[in-house]
């Protein structure tokens, strides 16, 4: 792992540590007259960030496969929460079994195949061509067929659509976040750094050689070193760091978009966007979050593989909008089902789905935007 990646991970973890310390300090100082409810919300937020970023950093440091596994587990748990809240009938049981134990793991398995050269060589198609259509086409068709096979036609289309929606949002859409690791990210900086390293080495070698050019052996050595340096230039070099930073950048921006929305919603002037669905989401929150996240994205553009700073800024801006859309959609579903939170993995924290709803909606958009920007002339 290169220094920049470690700095990014470490920096975020240090910021989280500071946030935790601030929470402790605020909880002790009752005399400051702050609203205890706001401090409690802040504490839960920080705790939820720890739960998200600590495993993510651990998984990324351990490699792509562990990251796929981590996102698989998040998807699985989110889908559990989604289906638990969705009224199903006993006839859906077998279809649900396939959804949980075949479709969900297969999606991530196809994702893991993206880095395997044998996959493309043997099958003649890329993993992307499979994992991008597997759920929207094959799982989409399998679910109604399996339910119909069970012979219960009551509210058929409604039941089918709900299971399909759960699978699409919790598994398909979310899987585009770890799919960032399968992109061919042509990174500029490390290659330049390597080139400098190599030329320096060659220069040093040639200097050393020129100082004592009294033997043919030294001349030979110099030639060798030059060859090696040139070979180093030609070697295809695909470092993992930029991809990991890209995924981390994405997760960070989504979380910041959520947080900024909350913070900007606290200012006195409040104009709710859709009061019938979520009175807490205001125009101030949305615009404020879009502006702040765009600035943060531009500031952090150095860690991304984007060619220009405005690409990182624009991607962040789009993410702030999709994150808002995701949160709002999930609020609508929750409101319809008459619940406040999706699950109770940890008491008082809502569910996994409450934490990742914005990520589910942002991941595919960010993925395609990245593909587009990386090919930018």
């Amino acid at each position: 792992m290169d220094a920049l990646t470690l700095e990014l991970f470490g920096g975020v973890l240090v910021l989280l540590g500071i946030a935790s310390a601030v929470v402790r300090f605020l909880k002790r100082r009752v005399d400051l007259g702050l609203d205890p409810a706001i401090i409690e919300t802040f504490r839960l937020r920080v705790w939820a960030w720890w739960l998200l970023f600590a495993p993510l950093v651990g998984a990324l440091l351990a490699g792509a496969y562990l990251t796929f596994l981590l996102f698989f587990m998040i998807s699985f748990w989110a889908l559990r929460e989604f289906i638990t809240l969705t009224p199903t009938r006993p006839a859906d049981h077998r279809a649900l079994f396939w959804v949980f134990f075949a479709c969900t793991p297969l999606q991530y398995l196809f994702l893991a195949c993206a880095d395997q050269p044998w996959f493309e060589q043997r099958l003649g198609i890329t993993a992307y061509e499979i994992y991008s259509i597997f759920i929207p086409v094959y799982a989409f068709l399998l679910i109604p067929a399996r339910i119909a096979f069970s012979g219960d036609s009551k509210r058929f289309l409604e039941r089918t659509a709900k299971i399909q929606a759960g699978l699409l949002i919790c598994v398909y859409c979310l899987s585009y976040a770890p799919a960032l690791l399968t992109l061919k990210v042509a990174s500029q900086e490390p290659r330049v750094a390597q080139r400098i390293d190599d030329t320096e080495q060659a220069e040093a070698a040639s200097k050393a050689a020129s100082e004592e050019v009294d033997s043919v052996a030294d001349m030979m050595q110099m030639e060798n070193l030059k060859d090696m340096a040139e070979a180093g230039l030609k070697r295809p070099y695909e470092p993992a760091g930029p991809k990991y930073r890209l995924l981390f950048f994405f997760v960070l921006i989504v979380q910041l978009a959520d947080a900024c929305q909350y913070v900007w919603s606290q200012i006195p002037s409040r104009h709710p966007i859709v009061p019938s669905i979520s009175p807490a989401r205001t125009w101030e929150g949305l615009l404020g979050s879009a502006a702040s996240v765009t600035l943060i994205g531009a500031a952090l553009s150095g860690v991304t593989p984007f060619h220009y700073w405005w690409q990182a800024a624009f991607a962040s801006f789009v993410v702030s909008l999709t994150a808002f859309g995701g949160g709002l959609t999930m609020s609508a579903i929750k409101r319809d089902r008459g619940v406040k939170d999706y699950g109770t993995l940890i008491e008082g924290h809502g569910g996994v789905l409450d934490r990742i709803d914005s990520m589910c909606f942002s991941a595919p958009v960010f993925f395609h935007l990245t593909c587009f920007f990386l090919k930018w002339p």
Partner: protein, 204 residues
């Protein structure tokens, strides 16, 4: 010792697979002698309820289960005998001189608690069926036992009747406030009251 570890691991697996959130409403876990009575929709009910108890209470709690199911194979036999310490009732031949209630009272002594499902069999939907009279006779003979209503939500969706493979949905196990058989309370009224206590937990 070995059984304790096996029980701990199994309880952990059951908790994870059922994703159970456990709520205690006006009631606290306590190792005193109790009868937990719950709605019954799935074979896994007993395991889920048992795993929802804290370890020190769990080791003193014996699920009452059907003999023909839990003697059905070597794994089930091992689990019911060694891990759950289940009290197996033979539903096919109930003798007059030794009714299931007598057997339960004899087996728990003054130490163990029980998990029972007063509906008798598994109901096929989410509705709670009428309670059978076992709970009444049990508390008539041992009025000192605390009766704890328990509602297990969603288990009928995890493993419905007639299905073999479970779907990992999230359950919720709710323990309610203890109740007792009132002095001279008629059987029908008591069973009605017990059933309503379970149903009430569903809404909270």
């Amino acid at each position: 010792m070995e059984t304790n570890i096996a029980a701990g691991i199994l309880a952990l697996i059951a908790r994870f697979l059922s994703g159970a959130s456990v709520r205690w409403i006006d009631c606290h876990p306590d190792p005193c002698q109790r009868v937990y009575f719950a709605n019954h929709t799935s074979h896994l009910d007993a395991v889920v309820l048992w795993s929802a108890l804290p370890p020190e209470v769990r080791s003193l709690t014996r699920p009452v289960a059907a003999k023909e199911y839990w003697m059905g194979g070597p794994i089930r036999r091992y689990l019911s005998r060694e891990v759950f310490n289940a009290l197996l009732i033979d539903r096919t031949e109930i003798k007059v001189h030794q009714s299931p209630v007598d057997l339960m009272i004899q087996q728990i002594g003054h130490q163990y608690s029980l998990i029972i499902f007063p509906e008798g069999g598994r109901s096929s939907g989410p509705d709670v069926g009428e309670f059978k009279s076992g709970l009444y006779y049990l508390s008539k003979k041992r009025p000192d036992l605390e009766l704890i209503p328990v509602h297990i939500d969603n288990m009928n969706r995890i493993l419905p009747r007639g299905e073999v493979l479970p779907v990992p949905m999230l359950t919720c196990v709710t323990f309610g406030p203890p109740m007792w058989l009132e002095r001279k309370e008629p059987k029908v009224k008591f069973l009605q009251r017990a059933r309503e206590a379970v149903l009430r937990l569903k809404e909270t």
